[in-house]
């Protein structure tokens, strides 16, 4: 180990370990059959509103105060810096007659607020982002303006990667398939899909995806963001309307903006608001001309990655049919992770995929691969193959990624290693429910529906974000903290991404540390309505009791209701 510090990220080879250890570190072995749970389908029933807990007023006031202080300090800092330290602020000043890349105002948030906690983001890692993730150690200098690297890495429990079903492995059938595909097809796909970028592996994957999601046909792309961002301009134009959930992902917004279609947003998951909006829009038509809209498309996500909430599919389908709109569902986070058979929201609500016009999803999350797909009826996909910019101008998916996708899809569907896919699905459901209920019982405010593998825990004050993230890293747990603009201003949060690779004992370890840190940081601000009392117990439970009782309780839906 070198003691010389370096400002460049070092290349670190994973520590030598036996094959068994490696396997266990990437995908924790199941410790007991108790720790499995099959999602019960909603049978087309609407979803119970997840418990919305609100913090006491003092928390809200403190959070606003916290921002106020940060902003005032930032402005003082800017004033002093621009007066006395001009050489350190070259980036926001005019230089040789060129405007700065970013104006002072535009970059204020980044320079004065985000920079303070920059050490919690973009941590370099090495190796497989499986059950454990190796974070490369770094030392921050001069308020995060640069880092030095001592050349070591720390194994942390991974609650940060979108590795829902634990397919991020460097060993096993998926990896074998990926390696074989390198031999047969190489590592690069040669060009756009319409020129030389299509191989039989591409077609096979498309067929598999279509069958998996239950649509007639599907298309695959090399990047999830790109699938959305370059999709809408092929089907929508300025005479069309998009009705979009206010929390939709940026890729959808970019795509819709590119199409030129008018966008109206409805309040997150608020179906009355949506219905009112649709009616209003059909009646009034296009702005100015008042001609009727050519198409109206409702865009929602299956599982919202920051909230852990799910779309109200039954109601959406009802509205879509009633008002003849089209429905686009982005299943980036839900495909593979939600539903008893892992087939996303349709599976969860037990509804036919034919109710959704266009289903989009990614392979980055549950499948341990990369890229995205769009699945729809055959006539739609046939036309899109000729119309999309991605298929005609952009690179195609590299073969090893396809092999990984194909194999993991087959495992989930049960065609390969029967039983393994099911176990993965049941483990993630159990893990998600266990962590969510346990955190609620400990007195934290946690958002989201019971089965969602995204478990956002609210921190509120922005200064608690770096504190939480750093303290967790000290305890060898890698977590993701998110704040404004990804969330509402005061609702800074930590987002635990659950994986099938975690064992129940891993979650116990996590709970003990979150409990300890939470107490130190005064994070237990729940009103108690979300942790249904058991035998008249008060709501802030003791950690040992939570760990003892929750594994059994979390399988029961009644504990997730108010």
């Amino acid at each position: 180990m070198s003691s010389i510090s370096n400002t460049r990220v070092p290349l670190i080879d994973p520590a030598a370990q036996s094959l068994e250890d490696k396997r266990a570190n990437e995908y924790g072995p199941l410790t007991s059959k108790e720790y499995l749970h099959e999602t019960s389908s909603q049978q087309g029933e609407p979803l119970q509103e997840p418990i919305a807990d609100t913090p006491p007023y003092y928390v809200v006031v403190i959070t606003y105060l916290n921002y106020l202080i940060l902003i005032i300090l930032g402005h003082v800092h800017d004033f002093l810096g621009l007066t006395f330290q001009k050489d350190r602020h070259q980036d926001i000043m005019e230089k040789d007659g060129l405007a700065p890349w970013f104006s002072k105002f535009e970059s204020f948030y980044v320079r004065r607020l985000k920079l303070r906690i920059d050490d919690c983001f973009s941590r370099p890692t090495t190796g497989v982002p499986g059950r454990f993730i190796s974070c490369i150690d770094r030392i921050s200098h001069d308020l995060n303006s640069y880092y030095t690297y001592p050349g070591t890495a720390t194994m942390c429990l991974n609650l940060s990667s979108y590795n829902y079903l634990g397919f991020a492995q460097s060993e096993g059938p998926c990896t074998t398939a990926a390696l074989e595909s390198v031999d047969k097809y190489g590592v690069c796909a040669g060009g756009p899909r319409t020129q030389l970028g299509t191989s039989d592996l591409h077609l096979e994957t498309e067929k598999l995806v279509a069958r998996f999601v239950g649509k007639e046909d599907a298309m695959i792309f090399s990047q999830g963001y790109g699938s959305n961002a370059n999709f809408f301009n092929s089907i929508l134009d300025p005479k069309c309307l998009v009705i979009s959930d206010e929390l939709n992902h940026t890729s959808i917004r970019t795509g819709v903006r590119l199409s030129g279609a008018t966008v109206k947003a409805f309040k997150h998951n608020n179906m009355e608001n949506l219905e009112k909006l649709i009616k209003e829009q059909i009646v009034s038509g296009q702005p100015k001309t008042h001609r009727p809209w050519k198409k109206i498309m409702i865009c929602v996500e299956g599982l919202y990655s920051m909230e852990g909430t799910m779309c109200h599919l039954p109601k959406l389908v009802e509205l879509k049919n009633k008002y003849k709109c089209y429905l686009f569902v982005d299943e980036a986070h839900s495909i593979g992770a939600i539903g008893a058979r892992g087939r996303g929201v349709c599976d969860y609500f037990n509804m036919s995929p034919s109710n959704i016009d266009i289903m989009m999803g990614t392979f980055t999350k549950s499948f341990g691969a990369a890229g995205g797909y769009i699945a729809a009826d055959k006539n739609i996909v046939d036309r899109l193959r000729c119309d999309l910019t991605t298929t005609n101008y952009s690179e195609s998916v590299p073969p090893p990624v396809l092999a990984q996708t194909c194999t993991s899809l087959r495992i989930i569907a049960g065609d390969l290693n029967p039983g393994e896919g099911l176990e993965r699905l049941q483990r993630i459901t159990f893990n998600s429910r266990y962590l969510r209920l346990a955190l609620r019982r400990l007195g934290f405010i946690v958002y989201g529906v019971a089965d969602s593998p995204v478990v956002p825990m609210l921190l509120y004050a922005p200064s608690k974000m770096p504190a939480f993230s750093r303290m967790m890293l000290q305890r060898k747990i890698a977590v993701v903290v998110v704040a404004y603009p990804a969330t509402p201003l005061i609702e800074s949060r930590v987002r635990f991404c659950i994986s099938s690779a975690l064992t129940k004992e891993d979650i116990d370890y996590l709970l003990r540390h979150v409990n300890e840190v939470g107490e130190k940081l005064f994070l237990k601000v729940s009103t108690g309505k979300s942790s249904v009392s058991r035998n008249g117990k008060p709501h802030n439970w003791d950690i040992d009791e939570v760990i003892r009782l929750t594994p059994a309780d979390c399988k029961d839906d009644k504990y997730f209701k108010e």
Binding site: V128, S160, Y225
Partner: protein
């Protein structure tokens, strides 16, 4: 206690009102006095009332108006309350509305799907097997003149071994965006390698080459900024300009005098306008044009951008690894230093470098802001780790030995020479690409196009522009479609008769907002032998001549 008298006794007011109001006044006064510092305010009001009693009245009126204004229901801006509809009328309207289908029927464009080659082997190799039309046609050992993997370094077994080692070490997917534990050490190292290889301060990796321009340009532009772009840019840049919110001007393709005139005009206008802040100004062009294959006069561009204080963005998707004696792109081609001449370079790992993904080169400040403000970087998962390891390996090999680049240039020159010098071909086709381009762009001559399909580039562009301004999305133009099919016949003939695979330039009319003309592309790869290249050229020539004369 007697309340203080506030009204003169001459006015007759019922006693209880007088009494109550006096008390209220009295307590109010007491209350105001109790607030520390209130006497300043009271004194001020008194004095101002003394100076000008009307002012007090105006101020009171203003305060009341303010309160009313704030309490009023907010009215939507620009909202015209139309006639109120009854429920029955609303229902009738809802019932009446019929949407168009999600997509138009595919019958008119179906033929394109049938012609897509499905590769059955590695597409980076010089010889490939392929099938078409759902396996109805099968071709073996086809000479591959269609691949974008020009240098073919990633078809070498030991490079593939690097990819396999990486999969062994890190798995396939990165499972997260760069900001949240998605970037491995190898990602950062490829960024170092790219910056070193192309001699810039920094590099930023992206997941897909096509998304980069549409993400980088809007990240740095806002309303009021100015972009001057070449009018033959590819769709990726067209989309980016649409998303940029800035004022966009186009200059004639590679015409530096036109550009200078435009910049001059803009400068004069800017001086006249006296803007509150300096706008950001960009010149946008491509290193090797996607649609035409030619090269912009970079030295002149750099001179102009320095003179008029613009920044220069060059999309080098097709030129990195191809142009310049060691493959360092258009700057090396013109013997310029990249760091000082080009501000933003967009590059692709999926073309000459033969991996997957893309990157942006530039200075550190610009790179840092991209990592926060560029959507395709922040909101998208990192590249799979094997693609970046392969990228680093390719760069390492190029640094050691650039014979692949040299060989590619040799072949490109030879290929262009063949098509440019051939007498029979001169009559029917024209070559638009530069001799150094590894892609040969071939289109019918203007005369032949008029004769056969009866249209010119201008008339065609006019027609698309009209359709565009009417927001027609199903841009179907018969003569364009016929010419596309005609070119496809050439492709088919060369495949069937000579086992040589070339391709049309697959434009989507719907998305093109700038002038285009159907064309063919013939690619060469550095692993081809001279004979193979000659065979390819001869075959394409025969195919072109056969189809053109046969139709006459």
């Amino acid at each position: 206690m007697q309340p203080p008298a506030v009204l003169p006794t001459s006015i007759v007011v019922p006693d209880f009102i007088l009494r109550t109001s006096s008390y209220v006044w009295y307590y109010c006064q007491n209350f105001v006095n109790a607030i520390p510092g209130s006497h300043y305010v009271v004194d001020y009001v008194k004095r101002s009332h003394q100076h000008d009693p009307y002012r007090t009245m105006v101020e009171i009126f203003l305060i009341i108006y303010g309160i009313v204004y704030f309490l009023r229901k907010p009215r939507k801006q620009g909202f015209q309350a139309g006639p109120k509809l009854t429920d029955r009328e609303t229902d009738a309207l809802l019932d009446e509305w019929q949407p168009e289908p999600v997509t138009q029927s595919s019958s008119k464009v179906e033929w394109r799907t049938e012609k897509i080659p499905v590769v059955l082997t590695s597409s980076s190799k010089t010889y490939i097997d392929l099938s078409r039309n759902n396996g109805a046609e099968l071709y073996e050992n086809v000479l591959n003149c269609c691949s974008n993997n020009f240098l073919q370094i990633t078809s070498e077994p030991d490079v593939l071994q690097v990819a396999k080692n990486s999969i062994h070490k890190c798995g396939v997917g990165a499972c997260g965006p760069a900001g949240f534990y998605g970037n491995l050490d190898v990602h950062t190292h490829l960024e170092y390698d790219l910056a070193r290889f192309f001699n810039t301060e920094n590099a930023v990796l992206y997941g897909q080459d096509f998304c980069i321009a549409t993400s980088v340009i809007p990240a740095f532009t806002k309303r009021g900024d100015v972009i001057v772009a070449d009018d033959r840019c590819s769709v990726s840049i067209q989309n980016a300009l649409q998303l940029s919110r800035s004022t966009v001007y186009y200059y004639d393709h590679n015409d530096m005098d036109a550009l200078e005139d435009l910049l001059q005009q803009l400068q004069e206008r800017e001086l006249k306008d006296k803007l509150p802040a300096l706008p950001r100004k960009f010149i946008v062009t491509e290193g090797l044009f996607h649609n035409l294959g030619d090269i912009p006069p970079l030295p002149k561009l750099v001179e102009l951008k320095n003179k008029y204080k613009f920044r220069l963005l060059v999309d080098e998707t097709f030129s990195l690894g191809v142009l310049g004696s060691t493959g360092r792109g258009i700057t090396e081609h013109f013997n310029l230093d990249r760091q000082s001449s080009v501000d933003i370079t967009i590059g692709s790992l999926a073309t000459a470098l033969g991996s997957s993904g893309g990157f942006v080169l530039g200075d550190s400040v610009m790179s840092l802001h991209q990592r926060i403000g560029s959507h395709a970087y922040t909101f998208s998962a990192s590249l799979p780790s094997f693609t970046v390891t392969v990228g680093s390996e390719v760069l390492r090999r190029l640094e050691k030995d650039n014979s692949a680049v040299q060989r590619l240039r040799q072949l490109s020159n030879r290929m262009h020479h063949f098509f440019r010098e051939d007498k029979t071909l001169k009559e029917i086709v024209e070559v638009t690409s530069d001799n150094d381009s590894s892609v040969l762009h071939l289109r019918l001559t203007e005369d032949l196009r008029i004769k056969k399909f009866n249209y010119t580039e201008e008339s065609f562009y006019k027609e698309i522009s009209v359709m565009h301004s009417k927001y027609l999305t199903d841009k179907h133009i018969d003569y364009y479609e016929t010419e596309e099919k005609f070119l496809q016949e050439i492709v088919d003939y060369s495949l069937k008769e000579f086992n040589v695979l070339i391709s049309r330039n697959t434009f989507v009319l719907k998305h093109e907002t700038l002038p285009i003309i159907p064309s063919l592309k013939v690619c060469c790869g550095s692993k081809m032998s001279d004979q193979e290249l000659l065979r390819a050229c001869e075959s394409v020539k025969k195919a072109v001549v056969y189809i053109v004369t046969q139709e006459n």
